[in-house]
């Protein structure tokens, strides 16, 4: 496939504008022309999202455009990529893994957590976002229910750190600690705090969070 470059530019513009129809059509045509879902992901979706991520870094675009782009890509995945993967029976899912995200009990700060969620999504993770002020028991229960691969927690307030530790303790108590790698982040956290409470790792920014999640799942 030779014209990836122009396709990618067109794809970027479509998802930024939230033009689902155009984005879905472009993906469909590419597959009809012989591209595999993986090829489409690697040559179109992934570079487009990286491009958009960079534009957000420099604030040439703002959060609403990022959100629209991520939503539109989700629609493309649902309508075209996932069914094609299932059909090809390659057995390989396009998702890098499922990450549960929550701002812990007491804390209402959500901007950072939302940015992490977006960056994870645009980098190929599935995200289950439980919102803010989420009690530790709910985090553990939902992780089990959703069979997530990683638990990610955010706290900006020092007074909410004990609830993060609770999650690690509860997992331990239920003998399922090894099943769920735990990553924490937010302004009240740093790597030593992660270690102290028994989390697996810490992410200082959304970009670092993505890298660390890949590392946790051995995908780097």
């Amino acid at each position: 496939m030779s014209n990836w470059e122009s396709k990618q530019t067109e794809f970027t513009e479509s998802i930024l504008a939230g033009n689902e129809q155009a984005a879905v059509a472009l993906a469909r045509t590419s597959l009809e022309e012989g591209a595999t879902p993986v090829e489409f992901f690697e040559n179109c979706i992934s570079p487009s999202l990286q491009d958009i991520g960079k534009r957000f870094e420099t604030l040439d675009i703002f959060l609403p455009e990022m959100v629209t782009a991520a939503d539109t890509v989700e629609k493309v995945n649902e309508d075209v990529i996932n069914p094609a993967v299932a059909e090809s029976q390659a057995g390989e899912s396009m998702s890098l893994g499922k990450v549960l995200l929550a701002t812990v009990q007491g804390d209402l700060h959500d901007i950072g957590k939302n940015m992490v969620g977006l960056m994870l999504k645009v980098n190929g993770f599935e995200v289950v976002d439980l919102g803010t002020n989420v009690p530790p028991a709910d985090i553990v229960a939902r992780a089990e229910q959703e069979q997530v691969d990683i638990i990610g927690m955010s706290a900006l307030l020092t007074t909410c750190l004990p609830y993060m530790k609770d999650v690690c303790d509860f997992l331990e108590g239920k003998n399922i600690r090894d099943k769920y790698p735990v990553i924490i982040g937010g302004a009240a956290t740093h790597p030593e705090i992660a270690e102290e409470m028994g989390a697996n790792t810490h992410g200082g920014s959304a970009a670092e969070g993505v890298e660390k999640c890949k590392m946790l799942l051995g995908k780097l």
């Binding site: 957000f56 703002f62 959060l63 901007i111």
Partner: protein, 464 residues
């Protein structure tokens, strides 16, 4: 009557939170906020470009922004995240609420009162200094010396507090009895500090440790913080509230306490860029007054990547928002100064100074300084940056916007390229003698250098 809250209006706001139309939070963020902001900016032809001057000198633009903000306040309202409902007010309701706002208020008691007054842009009148390490984490051991150094600074008229890192050797857990224990300890320490500096009646921003309503209820009760202090209450960005906040507003009505309501519109978030933030300053102030009837109005726009309110684009937006509010209603407004740099750097003087000058000539009533090093590094704050802000602010009271513009531009130029480096400086205990609380000679010299520099550059006559 301290806060002068209208109880019927409060009950009406509580009703709205129960009975307004149900809405998904996502829809609120994207449609009600995102879309309406974009459309309103377009309709009123409000834009701000990266190479525009930092201080706008256009009354018609400020008034247009106010009108746009009022229209948006009516269109959007407030979202309650607990009831998932949208609270709305008609234009008549909002106008009546705003017309009842007093144009001045006196906080504190006895000899230690501070009167905050409505000011207009360029007005030659006193700007009250609300100083302290707002929200900055600090250990129990350092709490008293750290804060005492601020409280004894005579230029600070209302006193703000940092965040206790532990209480009686234990971890503080939000919403638990430990938050109540911490609130009471914070109150005891704060009163002790006021006694030590001989300013027992000075108003304080409180309850700082209140992550939830538990801390506020526990700290503002018999023998606790006083009604004459400034009790904090906020919006969740953008224009969202929760039972936690509405409970606090109700408590303030019952104990007749002054309150400081504040909100942090996100630059780069759902309101968009600088023009969106300017608009958010106006619409947020209007609906926040309707929702909480706060005494003071504090606006701390936040850059989505660096969290600072001093970023050049954010500063430009905030000063225009302040002008719009000051020209059109009795808001007693402050910028919330949150620099990226910390004490022990020269840049902190430029960062805090630029926003202080821009806000003073824009007509702010008081100045909240400073959440140094973006507020996240334990003990990284010093009263010297507040002293600098205070001296500079008083020196530019009455200056025209045109005359203030070069000062702001000069300062912004000195820090705009290093903000992403997060020069967090040094902690208090390395910059002050813990016995005398005086700044170290080196740190004091940096402060004097900063004063001398602005005196020389701009012909000011600020004493050290």
């Amino acid at each position: 009557m301290n806060n002068g809250m209208n109880y019927d209006l409060l009950l009406d706001a509580l009703d709205k939170a129960e009975n307004g139309p149900v809405l998904d939070e996502k829809e609120w963020d994207r449609e009600v906020i995102g879309k309406n902001f974009r459309e309103t900016l377009e309709k009123y032809d409000i834009s701000m470009e990266r190479d525009d001057p930092y201080i706008t000198n256009d009354d018609a633009l400020a008034d247009r922004l106010y009108e746009a903000g009022m229209e948006l306040a009516v269109k959007t309202g407030v979202y309650c995240i607990d009831t998932k409902r949208r609270m709305t007010w008609t234009r008549e309701e909002l106008e009546s609420i705003l017309s009842d706002m007093p144009d001045s208020v006196t906080l504190g008691t006895g000899d230690d009162t501070a009167t905050v007054r409505r000011r207009r842009p360029e007005e030659n009148s006193h700007v009250v200094i609300y100083g302290g390490p707002f929200g900055i984490p600090v250990s129990e051991e350092l709490f008293i010396p750290f804060h005492e150094a601020y409280a004894r600074e005579p230029l600070i008229e209302i006193f703000n507090l940092g965040t206790l890192l532990s209480t009686r050797g234990r971890k503080i857990r939000a919403g638990s009895p430990w938050e109540a224990v911490a609130a009471w300890q914070e109150k005891e320490l704060a009163f002790e500090i006021l006694e030590r500096v001989g300013r027992p009646g000075m108003a304080m921003g409180c309850v700082e440790i209140a992550t939830t309503e538990v801390g506020e209820l526990a700290g503002t009760t018999l023998g606790g913080y006083r009604p004459t202090d400034a009790h904090k209450i906020n919006f969740i960005s953008e224009q969202k509230t929760a039972y936690h906040h509405l409970t606090e507003a109700t408590h303030y009505a019952h104990v007749d306490a002054f309150s400081e309501s504040y909100f942090n519109p996100m630059y780069g978030g759902y309101v968009g860029g600088a023009a969106g933030v300017a608009l958010a300053c106006v619409s947020g102030s209007i609906v926040m007054r309707a929702c909480y009837q706060g005494t003071l109005n504090n606006i701390g726009p936040t850059h989505v990547h660096i969290s600072a309110s001093t970023h050049p684009e954010v500063l430009r937006a905030l000063q225009l928002g302040l002008q719009a509010l000051a020209r059109n209603a009795n808001f007693l407004t402050s910028p919330f100064i949150r620099p990226t740099t910390g004490p022990g750097t020269m840049e902190i003087f430029y960062e805090t100074g630029a926003l202080a000058v821009a806000s003073a000539v824009a007509g702010c009533s008081y100045i909240d300084a400073s959440q140094s090093a973006a507020g996240t590094h334990a003990g990284h704050a010093s009263p010297l940056e507040v002293k600098f802000v205070a001296k500079l602010t008083h020196a530019v009271e009455g200056l025209s916007r045109a005359d203030a513009a070069p000062i702001v531009a000069w300062m912004v130029d000195k820090y705009k390229d290093i903000q992403s480096e997060a020069l967090t400086g040094k902690p208090f205990q390395e910059l002050h003698d813990l016995e005398t609380l005086d700044p170290t000679p080196e740190w004091n010299q940096m402060y004097l250098d900063a004063i001398n520099e602005v005196n020389q550059e701009f012909g000011l006559n600020i004493s050290g």
